[in-house]
Subunit: 248 residues, 2 copies
């Protein structure tokens, strides 16, 4: 049974303002929830789940005192859910807080104005696939803790470190680490050697990388175009370039 | 001014059944419409556009007798549109009919049960970027002419040849052309030489490639996983593998 206040609270977390104030975010569905509950990097605050999910997942720690677990009916979950098809369980988790990121001896990502929540979530999943720990977003990127982004990460949000900051300022701070800008007029990715320490910079879906940040990039790289599409999706381009940068 | 009958007809084209019966599809927005109007591969049937779009685009051929152009108000376009934010122009085009596809001396794609319209559209755009002309879909793939897919192709639907057919049967028919299955347990893409003639097979978002089709594939290839994500998005994986297969 859920109260009107709980419904209202959860719905408010659809808005960045309230997520920031409360320092929490929402995740949904057994797959992601189980990944988030299974990692020490994430702290659950509350879980709302149907009887089915409860039976399958909460046997051992039903009385776990660290977070609140509420059994809800399917119709109640529907009122809470941000998904078109609500899926057994919804959880509220604390937004992880990371100490300063370490860019040395690693490939990292900078995202400059990625607007589409699906793209941002997919990029986080790609980073996790390639073992990339650091993702730095410009302040005008979509919020990585928005419900749609969290869903699109498929659980990878639990494993990457996210930071929102001024990218040109950070670029200067981490010198001499080299920035590789994904552009349409750079060096072919097929002519790159695998790189152990660098930052790949991906820009906005239509405008690309801002001039201020592009000025900080030591390299421009490009996926050669053999056909006629005007561009590639930002997440797809990030995946292709990373695959060539990691190189094995 | 649009009639109720026109609204009803356009809305019916949201359904595959009616698109198939009428052999037409819908596209929206200046960018895609202008791409589709600009290629001889596509035959427009009707255009519904706001005054703004008309002024900018129809000066020369306002009396073009080949297809019907109707000026509509923004509010009318909203009634017709399949987009969340209707965008100046909606067009009805004939579905292109292709003679048998030619797989020799080319890289082609087979899609086995790609369900998500966004993924399918993104894959069509990727194919167009890499100059891949042939995309063969299993019959349980999403319909490439659904409004959401057409939008996600960003105009590339005009430049690729699409065929829906039984994939294992086709695989046998085109022998000895080799099929490369994208799997989680194959040979690393980094160990492949660029290939001039082959078919890349991408499977369903969660179930992968069906056993019947996998049995027809001579090669299994994999994007090495360095991190912990369980999988990559199907479109991203297709893009990464193609980038290595085309190889320059």
């Amino acid at each position: 049974m859920i109260t009107k206040l709980q419904v209202k609270y959860i719905q408010s977390l659809g808005q960045k303002k309230f997520r920031d104030e409360e320092a929490v975010f929402i995740a949904e569905g057994p797959r992601i929830i189980n990944e988030l509950l299974g990692t020490s990097a994430m702290t659950p605050v509350a879980i709302y789940a149907t009887g089915t999910w409860m039976q399958e997942n909460m046997r051992a720690d039903k009385n776990n005192p660290l977070f609140q677990v509420t059994e809800v009916k399917a119709a109640e979950l529907e009122r809470l859910s941000f998904l078109q098809t609500p899926n057994e369980v919804l959880g509220i988790f604390k937004k992880p807080v990371h100490a300063a990121l370490d860019f040395s001896n690693a490939l990292s990502l900078m995202l400059d104005g990625i607007q589409d929540p699906g793209n941002l979530g997919t990029i986080i999943r790609i980073a996790d696939w390639f073992g990339i720990a650091n993702i730095v977003c410009s302040k005008d990127c979509a919020d990585a803790f928005a419900p749609k982004v969290v869903q699109a990460t498929m659980g990878s949000i639990a494993r990457v470190k996210l930071l929102y900051t001024d990218l040109p300022a950070l670029a200067k701070k981490i010198e001499p680490i080299q920035l590789y800008a994904a552009t349409l007029d750079g060096r072919s990715i097929h002519r790159l050697q695998p790189i152990k320490e660098a930052v790949l910079v991906t820009g906005n879906e239509s405008k690309g990388i801002s001039t201020a940040l592009l000025d900080c990039c030591q390299h421009r790289i490009t996926i050669p175009r053999l056909g006629q599409a005007e561009s590639l999706n930002a997440a797809v381009a990030t995946g292709i370039i990373l695959s060539h940068l990691v190189g094995y």
